[in-house]
Symmetry: C2
Subunit: 250 residues, 2 copies
């Protein structure tokens, strides 16, 4: 099962959610995480510092190397296809290729028998990299911050998903929307949760992930949240998403 | 004076800072704000809902209309060149144009006599739109969240600025780095502030903007922060940036 974690709004916890989910999935079976963001935050979030000549997903997408040749092991048992700034060149390099939207899907196919779960972290845009992730994915999780700007962008994202389903990937399903960094006691969080649930009639809205300084701390420590803290309430919303994912598999 | 507000890291308060600065600058003289992000958050942050056929910066960049023809007035006295999702098409449309990096600079030139200050909000990427802003700008302000991922990206941004200075805009100056959403009492904010000041030897680091729910509330209300609250400590860091900007002018 391939899960894309996407939202063009910046800073809504796409990477933090990718880390949390891949970390939990690696406890259940085999999991490959793909860092499709030129910022390379998923790679640093797993505690990986890339050596200068180390291969990344860029070499895989440009056909220089197979997925197997670029995978880096992580401390939490997740296999990582690392990403870095060289990804920023992809839009231009693949621009004239007829099958440019399926590049990621094509390179992932050979390893799907080896990894029960694949998690793809996307950059904050709806450009070629995110479209590649949506074209390759079985399901999509959309992290959303409980704030005004993040809600505004949701409509645009849902329209893009609709187009991707029609033209590139008819079997793409939306797993749900995951509210993140929620300060449930504030009026703005309560108001935006209400708007979210009313805007999304037929899409699941998971229980929100509470705001906690433990998340940025876990990023700095290079660990997924369930390996960094014992605090049940921070991890539970992510465990719920994993439960849902594993149910779909059957 | 043209100020670009840029950082490829998502969710670091680029738009919120653009709103705050343009709002304050409009109290000092004439100010044009440019929404160069396909999310259009600066436009909604000024309380503007675009009518379906309303022109945006997209029509200006593609040469259909002049800046004057697309400007929308805002309640706070800032003239706004609005942005929307159509901007996402620009990368592809300008890709083959030889002078694609100077498109924004070219269209802004005719109105510079009318606006003492111009503020440009950038999307969370280092693509064509952000490069256009850096090529047009006199100065650059970099909002940075006091968190691990946001710091990681700073080096990459500084390298891009160096390249832009060499190839496109030798007079571009860095006004400074503005720490945002700072929870000064947490260890992680204190640690990252220390790293920030040591990493940036010759770049000014402004006093941090405190974290406050008043900022997302002001976004929802469509007002810059100084018109939404009376709280001195939330606005002061932005007043300090404006003071610095006005000093440069002389
Ligand atoms: N539940 C949470 N509580 C507090 N902070 C959080 C939480 N989740 C994520 N964060 C922090 O918020 C910041 C933004 O999160 P993250 O970088 O994962 O978002 P993103 O959507 O991947 O950003 P980008 O758009 O740049 O890729 C990070 O510093 C992260 O540590
Ligand atoms: N000082 C602050 N305290 C608390 N919240 C803040 C502060 N500044 C900004 N915010 C909130 O953080 C969120 C992200 O800010 P904003 O959208 O301005 O960032 P951005 O860098 O423009 O994001 P993007 O990368 O998507 O363009 C918004 O919901 C905003 O209201
Ligand atoms: Mg990210
Ligand atoms: Mg923004």
């Amino acid at each position: 099962m391939i899960t894309a974690i996407a939202n063009q709004k910046g800073g809504v916890a796409k990477t933090t959610s990718s880390l949390a989910l891949a970390g939990l999935l690696a406890d259940e079976g085999t999991c490959l995480a793909v860092d499709l963001d030129p910022q390379g935050n998923l790679t640093t979030g797993f505690g990986i510092e890339l050596a200068p000549e180390q291969s990344t997903v860029y070499e895989v997408l440009t056909g220089v190397l197979s997925v197997k040749g670029a995978i880096a092991p992580t401390r939490s048992g997740v296999a990582l296809l690392p990403g870095d700034i060289s990804l920023a060149k992809i839009e231009k390099e693949l621009m004239t290729q007829p099958h440019r939207f399926y590049t990621l899907k094509k390179v992932l196919n050979p390893v799907l028998a080896e990894y029960e779960q694949v998690v793809i972290d996307c950059p904050p845009s709806l450009g070629l990299l995110t479209i590649n992730a949506l074209a390759a994915a079985d399901v999509l999780l959309v992290p959303v911050q409980c704030q005004f700007f993040a809600l505004k962008g949701l409509q645009g994202l849902l329209e893009t998903i609709h187009t991707v389903r029609q033209r590139l990937n008819p079997t793409l399903r939306i797993l749900g929307v995951l509210p993140t960094m929620a300060e449930t006691h504030t009026v703005i969080t309560q108001e935006t949760m209400k708007i979210l649930r009313s805007q999304l009639q037929d899409i699941r809205v998971f229980d929100p992930v509470p705001k906690s300084v433990k998340f940025p701390e876990s990023n700095m420590a290079g660990e997924p949240i369930h390996r960094y803290v014992r605090d049940w309430k921070l991890v539970q919303p992510y465990r719920e998403v994993v439960r849902e994912l594993l149910m779909l598999e059957k």
